[in-house]
């Protein structure tokens, strides 16, 4: 079919099948396993397999297409043994050549998460079931081979299906994006209607079903797994309660406690590296005065915000790097103290408050930002700072904020927005929002050469001297704490709510693969 048109295959199943509907918040657009770097992650790990799976909670690897692997002592040579009974959905056996071709295509296309393979110098296939990676510099290739994006293996026959000359021919990508797949995973995709739903059907020839003790499977896995796009938490909840969906990616957080008590429902929590930050326009008076900024930071009721905006499902931020991530430090939280804030304002020369309304923008439509903004407004009014809240579309907000580099007075005063990592490193947080070379997202217009130098050095040391890098990152964050170009607000806790009858939900969720529900481990009866 054409993009945008649903392509449907007639199901060849009997009516006794078990179906699970998973409500997704966001629609999908692309479906190429080599380049996908977006929402299709919801189903890619069900249809395709990498060499290994990684469980960050136990810090263990689970075999996927590779049954085992080893590495040289210098960490430069990695050897993987490929499973002998694995076949792709098109019937082609999975071999070392398919692995090599798949990863080489990802590298060659260089899109999406291709950068993960940067250490790889060459891939060799001594026999049909052995793959050898040679690296340019030491790296943890097992983690790389287990990432959520860019590590999937597909049937080399896609070249023929797409009528292409080779794997990097754009025709292959087109073929994928039309809703075709060529994976080896426990599910086949039978419907691709990326704005509304994606339907997966159990792949009966999957090797995993036959292994009695394999941890990533269940004997009662659903026959049909449908990902339904429902862009709104309330609706997801409504449908969950009325039986329209089985698992909700999101529901209004206020209701979580109630759902936890509801015998028909189950709630599963998981950590997240997404956080909310308020950037301050440091060049617009009176915010150019660090005392005023500090006063603001101390007048923000962090605990209340977490309670109201996230119903407690977040942690008060301590520095821009979120909890649980390497580079996070626990002593960078501002204390909520209104008298201190008033004192700071007085010191700054504003004993009776600021005589101008500060403009605070956030992205319209996001209830958590909205409530956060609301409480900030309420609280700052206590110290004599009036806030005008302006919910804007992201592009308007960003367009407005961009003006700040030329004319700080034309831009907003305060801006709140989310940050989440592309590469899991403190550097993405610190560089993007606070380095003055990052005009795109440094929307506090903060310029501090000392800070710049610290993080520039830290990032180069990350792979060599972790301790030193950590120290530099700490110093950089300390500077931010003193200068207050921004007030980190909270770090998110993520969750899933589902029908009670669905077993193994906690096992099916893995923070390393955000938003994914591994359907093959679900236990669905009746």
């Amino acid at each position: 079919g054409l993009p945008g048109r649903p392509t449907t295959t007639t199901p060849t199943t009997t009516p006794t099948q078990r179906m699970i509907i998973y409500a997704s918040l966001s629609e999908m657009t692309t479906a190429d396993p080599s380049t996908e770097f977006s929402n299709s992650v919801m189903w890619l790990p069900l249809v395709y397999e990498p060499l290994l799976w990684y469980d960050p909670i136990t810090d263990k690897f689970i075999p996927a297409l590779a049954t085992n692997y080893s590495s040289s002592i210098d960490g430069l040579v990695w050897t993987f043994t490929i499973r002998r009974d694995a076949v792709f959905h098109d019937g082609t056996p999975v071999t070392s050549h398919a692995v090599k071709l798949s990863i080489e295509r990802t590298i060659a296309l260089g899109q999406g998460a291709a950068f993960i393979w940067d250490p790889v110098e060459s891939i060799e296939t001594p026999d049909n079931y052995t793959v050898v990676f040679r690296l340019k510099y030491p790296a943890a290739l097992d983690k790389i081979a287990a990432t959520a994006y860019g590590a999937y293996i597909f049937s080399p026959k896609v070249v023929d299906y797409a009528g292409a000359s080779n794997l990097t021919d754009p025709k292959v990508a087109e073929w994928f994006n039309r809703g075709n797949e060529a994976g080896s995973g426990p599910y086949k995709m039978i419907k691709w209607d990326p704005e509304n739903e994606v339907v997966l059907e159990k792949f009966t020839d999957w090797w995993g079903w036959k292994l009695p003790d394999y941890p990533m499977k269940s004997d009662n896995a659903p026959d049909i797994f449908k990902i339904k796009i429902i862009k709104d938490a309330v609706t997801q909840e409504t449908l969950l309660l009325s039986g329209g969906v089985d698992i909700a990616q999101y529901v209004p957080l206020e209701n979580i406690e109630q759902h936890q008590r509801n015998p028909n429902l189950q709630v599963v929590f998981k950590p997240s590296f997404q956080n909310l930050i308020m950037l301050i326009n440091v060049k617009k008076p009176p915010l150019d005065n660090v005392l005023v900024r500090r006063a603001i930071a101390h007048a923000i009721p962090f605990e209340d915000i977490v309670t109201v905006a996230r119903s407690g499902l977040a942690r008060v931020a301590s520095g821009p790097v979120p909890h649980g991530m390497w580079g996070h430090f626990d002593n960078l939280t501002f204390k909520y103290n209104l008298s201190l804030a008033r004192e700071l304002l007085t010191q700054a020369g504003y004993p009776s408050g600021i005589n101008r309304k500060l403009i605070l923008t956030y992205t319209a439509g996001d209830i958590y930002e909205a409530r956060t903004a609301d409480l900030i407004k309420a609280s700052l009014s206590q110290i004599g700072i009036e806030i005008e809240i302006r919910p804007l579309s992201w592009e308007e907000q960003w367009a407005l904020a961009q003006k700040g580099w030329e004319d700080p007075n034309a831009a907003q005063d305060l801006l709140i927005f989310y940050w989440w990592p592309d590469v899991v490193s403190p550097f993405t947080y610190l560089y993007n929002m606070f380095h003055n070379a990052s005009k795109v997202f440094n929307l506090c217009y903060y310029e501090n050469p000392e800070f710049n130098a610290l993080i520039e050095e830290a990032v180069t040391l990350e792979g060599i001297d972790e301790a030193r890098a950590l120290q530099l990152y700490y110093m950089a964050q300390k500077i931010l704490y003193e200068d207050v170009p921004a007030v980190p607000l909270w770090d998110m806790i993520d969750l899933r709510v589902a029908r009670a009858g669905i077993g193994n939900l906690d096992k099916a969720i893995n923070p390393a693969y955000p938003t994914v529900v591994f359907a093959q481990v679900l236990d669905v009866r009746g």
Binding site: T238, T307, I389
Partner: protein
């Protein structure tokens, strides 16, 4: 004047109409004094909150319960009256300010300019009600004055057309001819003879439209393109209570009820006025079964 007394008398005798009049009067009065009778002004304006009281159900202390910030909803709904009044009156007044001159010029001066003005009016009328307001509000961005502007820009053509029709019929009445024969200037005819006699139905309609304007503004707020939070505008209150409906039905219920009652009041009164303006229906009003 005696007409007015007559009308009021009729309304007084009909409980449905009386209800309309009472609701509308109450709405206007509350709208005017709301900011001064709040028991928790901080909650109403969104400047205070109380985490410990989040989502408490209606009680004597909090008649309408509290919202997710622990703010007293009764106070917020009460203050919302003020915003609804401002929006309703603002939209109608602005629409009249555009619609009347356009309709008057098109209907009285006529000619090419008049035709052109009416064509423009027709173009605006090609949009279903509210749709154009949605497009405009999305362009202007959120805000009280933007909401009023967006609604007015989609609303004025209705008045313009009404005035146009009225003026086109009045300008052919013999008293306009009589004025011309006497030699009165065109401008004076337009403002002294035509306009006053064309205005009554429009003004009446406009007054009663305040209710509809409130309804439309609340729809914009619900769609997330009306007034921004924490304004206690009723539609916005309903919208922010939407996601809470299964834990705290009261958060969206009471503001919604406020909209219903207010608009109902205007509609009841509108019905009364319509019947009063129509002499035939007026006779039927006091009809006895024979």
């Amino acid at each position: 004047m005696s007409e007015l007394i007559l009308y009021l008398n009729i309304i007084r005798r009909n409980p449905i109409y009386l209800a309309g009049l009472v609701i509308v009067s109450l709405f206007v009065v509350v709208g005017l004094i709301a900011p001064y009778i709040l028991t928790r002004p901080g909650d109403a304006w969104g400047l205070t909150y109380d985490i410990n009281k989040r989502l408490s159900p209606p009680s004597l202390e909090h008649l309408f319960g509290t919202d997710e910030y622990g703010r007293d909803l009764f106070n917020r709904v009460l203050l919302g009256t003020r915003f609804s009044l401002v929006i309703g009156v603002g939209v109608v007044a602005l629409s009249l300010a555009i619609g009347i001159p356009v309709g008057l010029i098109a209907g009285y001066v006529g000619g090419k300019a008049g035709t052109a003005l009416m064509r423009v009016t027709d173009m605006f009328l090609a949009f279903p009600p509210l749709l154009l307001a949605i497009a405009l509000a999305a362009t202007f961005g959120r805000g009280l004055s933007n909401t009023i502007l967006a609604l007015s820009l989609s609303w004025w053509p209705w008045y313009s057309r009404l005035i146009y029709l009225q003026v086109s019929s009045v300008r052919n009445l013999p008293y306009v001819d009589a004025a011309k024969v006497i030699g009165i200037s065109e401008a004076r005819i337009m403002f002294r003879h035509v306009l006053p006699n064309s205005l009554t139905p429009v003004i009446t309609q406009a007054t009663l439209d305040i209710g509809s304007a409130i309804l439309e503004a609340s729809a914009l707020s619900f769609l997330g393109i009306g007034v921004p939070p924490p304004t206690p505008e009723w539609g916005l209150l309903v919208s922010s209570g939407w996601r809470l409906i299964s834990v705290a039905w009261w958060v969206s219920f009471f503001p919604g009820l406020a909209i219903v009652i207010t608009v109902l009041g205007f509609n009841l009164l509108g019905d009364a006025v319509k019947e009063l303006m129509d002499p035939r229906l007026r006779n039927l009003l006091s009809m006895r079964r024979v």
